[in-house]
Symmetry: C2
Subunit: 119 residues, 2 copies
DNA sequence: CCACCGCATCGATGGATGTCAATTCATGGG
DNA sequence: CCCATGAATTGACATCCATCGATGCGGTGG
């Protein structure tokens, strides 16, 4: 399921609910899992700072060596967090020569925020 | 620190960064922790569904008995998730008689989404 | 006054996760 | 050809977390 497919009309339960049957449909279980996976990727101080630091760099591009020292974490840990962010579709990795450059995926943060507000 | 106080001008590191010094300021470590705490509260499928189910109910209000069965989780687990959401400032709890009614905190989701988009 | 019901809390447990040191991989320069 | 450097991977470890069953607590009705 894609992140753009959250409010599919999945009934939220049977009609045997104790008090009231819901006036509109809540998000379905799969949509919730999809959104939760994306939010989990950002629900970490180190990863939030990484995203922000990449966005703050000139050309919105940064290599690992730019990020390790200001973050105060070891290089493997930073690499790990960056991998999580790439797999979540928030960053892209571009290896040029010795260095690996990370960029924001345009619009990824905004669509995530939009989905969050629509829950 | 409050959630409305993310982009305070905290320098992200020393000037000894290896490649480029950053063209604008990234969010500070404390702001990142604050935002991460809020996002963690929502970065769970069960809690996302709970928020959505509460919002979907008539009068945007639901008691635990409304939520346990459609969610497919035990009552203690649902109570636990609701507590997390209340502590994160996303829901309010109102005990009336035998039942505990949960409501969305107006604007909480939207301001969180706005902060996310501004990272 | 007592039994029942809705909900919160407690304790335990299995699994996910953040972190680092050590290692490996890849690339470029001598 | 080998070494130096930047980055990813691996393995280990401690901690956190989602979940449940059992229990406790307050309110309602008989």
């Amino acid at each position: 399921m894609s992140l753009t497919d959250i409010h599919t009309p999945v009934r939220t339960g049977t009609d045997a609910a104790c008090c009231a049957p819901a006036s509109r449909d809540a998000i379905g279980a799969e949509a919730a899992e999809t959104l939760a996976r994306s939010l989990k990727a950002l629900a970490d101080p180190a990863r939030l700072r990484l995203v922000s630091m990449v966005a703050a760099h000139p050309d919105a591009e940064a290599c690992v060596c730019d990020l390790t020292e200001p973050l105060g974490l070891s290089q493997p840990t930073v690499s790990h967090h960056l991998k999580v962010l790439v797999e979540a579709g928030l960053l892209t990795r571009d290896k040029r020569g010795t260095w690996a450059y990370y960029r924001l995926v345009p619009g990824a943060l905004d669509s995530l925020a939009a989905l969050l507000a629509a829950v």
